[in-house]
């Protein structure tokens, strides 16, 4: 019994003074100190960096300004419109390609022809084609997520073990049952993976699109800070973009967990 008591004490001790959490904290402190130092002693090239405290001041300024939060809103709307369109079109397309060999044979080569083109290379064409700048940004965001989701859905469908389909059909399931109750839930894990990866790429595309062609949005604000030579605000913009991207990915992952309760063990 005392052995157990002792173990419990040890665990409590570890919880409070967890060396690993401590090291993590330390490493971030060190990072900030190093940053300060690098600017202070004027390391070549890095001397142009703002001090951490300038960035903090910039962030405080930004948090109080309406335009800053407006930028968040614009960027988020762009992401969601483009991203959701990509899912709405990409998931059914991927399912169709995964299920029908013939359909895949006809469409996949075209798909493979366009897929390796970097999404950002579509920028000029998108501006040309779409009547407004806003639409062309939606389109670019769409391209960023579209190919990834389609590939993942196809993979998801083909990864479903044939014995699950056989089991269902020997239990008397007809094609519509197999589609809705086997193929759709079975490819869900890959769909979520595709969405997570797509979300990452999408932010990257959006930032480029905003810098090049956009009006407003976090990317544009960061770019304008550059043209105004407001270096602290460039860093604030970068961090904001990072936070926004992180929140979006977390949202997708959370949705995934909600949609797939069977993935959780206990």
């Amino acid at each position: 019994m005392e052995m157990i008591q002792e173990l419990r004490l040890k665990r409590e001790f570890k919880k409070v003074f967890n060396i690993r959490v401590l090291r993590g904290f330390l490493s971030i402190v060190m990072f900030v100190v190093l940053w300060q130092l690098v600017v202070f002693i004027k390391v070549p090239y890095l001397e142009n960096l703002p001090y951490p405290k300038d960035v903090a001041a910039g962030a405080a300024d930004a948090a109080g300004s309406r335009t800053y939060w407006f930028g968040w809103g614009i960027s988020l709307i762009r992401i969601f419109v483009g991203f959701i369109m990509a899912q709405l079109i990409g998931i059914p397309l991927g399912l169709a390609m995964g299920i029908s060999r013939t359909f895949k044979d006809f469409t996949f080569p075209v798909f493979e022809m366009l897929r390796p083109i970097p999404p950002i290379a579509w920028i000029p064409l998108a501006i040309l084609f779409w009547p407004t700048r806003e639409l062309s940004i939606y389109f670019l965001v769409f391209i960023g997520a579209f190919f990834i989701i389609v590939i993942n859905v196809i993979q998801g469908v083909s990864n479903i073990s044939v014995s699950l389909k056989w089991a269902a059909s020997s239990l008397g399931a007809r094609p519509k049952h197999i589609f809705w109750r086997i193929l759709v839930p079975g490819s869900l894990p890959s769909i979520i993976t595709g969405m997570t990866v797509g979300m990452g790429v999408t932010w990257n595309v959006l930032i480029a699109a905003e810098m090049i062609a956009g009006q407003g949005g976090l990317g544009r604000m960061t770019w304008e800070a550059y043209t105004n030579n407001n270096i602290p605000f460039i860093v604030v913009g970068m961090v904001s973009i990072g936070v926004a991207g992180y929140l979006c990915s977390t949202l997708v992952r959370w949705l995934g967990e909600k949609a797939m309760p069977w993935k959780k063990r206990f």
Partner: protein, 279 residues
């Protein structure tokens, strides 16, 4: 190292070993006051329900993990206790459950890995020694293949050879033949029997297969379900080398019945406990 010297080495004393796992605050008493001895050069087979702490003992002897209390001695040296965890070493060799041949090395590279990395042999010497060993057991011609090109039976034999080339005092095998079919298993038993009869050394063999246990073991140690203790030790006094026709003999059947009954009782207990835990 002379063969005679080896015979007197590899004596294991396990004294009052207790192991408590304590992940996330739920303490699990895996083993409680477990004691038994294995004589030098003895083929000890451990059977018992899953999760009964057989692997706990193996990990402690090999030096992979600690024990909560008790002591384990090898040839009189304390190798594991509450405050002592010996480092893994070539004198205590482990053959793993799912096979741990390095998939990125060929058979030859795998077998000579030990002697070369310990700088005990030159590469060319090790290659010769390995080739001899492979030849002796009829596995020549596969030196340049990767493990995954081979059937799992051959993989297991190569892994056993990789352990033996280091001339360990103790060889510990954790369900090494799990997943092989009946025919392949028989081959493995013959193989292990030959090796053991040629140069007996202490074996610590974990299995679930009772025929295997009685056929190979000089004694079968049956463990209880959690918390694990020794339930029964059955001495197997069958003549060496064991041969297959033994399987039909009355003395074998009696032994099997004895082991079967003891194990079955524990398996049922473990099963019921498992269901309770999950509910």
């Amino acid at each position: 190292m002379a063969a005679g010297a080896q015979n007197n080495q590899g004596e294991i004393f396990i004294k009052n070993v207790t192991k408590i796992y304590d992940p996330e605050g739920v303490h699990v008493v895996a083993m409680k006051d477990c004691s038994f001895d294995i004589a030098a050069g003895e083929f000890a087979v451990i059977v018992g329900p899953s999760g009964c702490g057989k692997t706990t003992l193996l990990n402690a002897i090999a030096g992979f993990d600690t024990i909560t209390s008790g002591e384990i001695y090898l040839d009189g040296e304390l190798i594991s206790s509450r405050d002592r965890q010996i480092k893994p070493d070539v004198e205590r060799m482990v053959v793993f459950q799912n096979g741990a041949l390095f998939p990125w090395k060929t058979v030859m590279e795998n077998v000579i890995y030990g002697p070369v990395v310990q700088k005990r042999m030159k590469r060319s010497e090790a290659v010769d020694a390995a080739r001899d060993m492979l030849h002796q057991v009829g596995l020549n011609g596969i030196e340049d293949k990767y493990p995954e090109e081979l059937s799992s039976g051959v993989q297991r034999r190569v892994e056993i050879l990789r352990a033996l080339i280091n001339k360990p005092k103790v060889v510990m095998l954790d369900e090494p033949f799990r997943g092989l079919d009946a025919v392949a298993k028989t081959v493995m038993h013959e193989f292990l029997m030959d090796i053991f009869c040629e140069s007996p050394r202490t074996m610590f063999f974990i299995t679930h297969d009772l025929d295997e246990a009685i056929f190979l073991g000089s004694k079968v140690i049956i463990m209880t379900t959690r918390p694990a203790q020794v339930k029964k030790i059955v001495q197997v006094d069958l003549p060496w080398p064991r041969e297959h026709h033994l399987l039909g003999s009355q003395i074998y059947l009696d032994l099997k019945r004895e082991v079967l009954e003891a194990v079955h009782e524990e398996a049922k207990k473990a099963f019921e406990a498992g269901e309770r835990e999950m509910a």
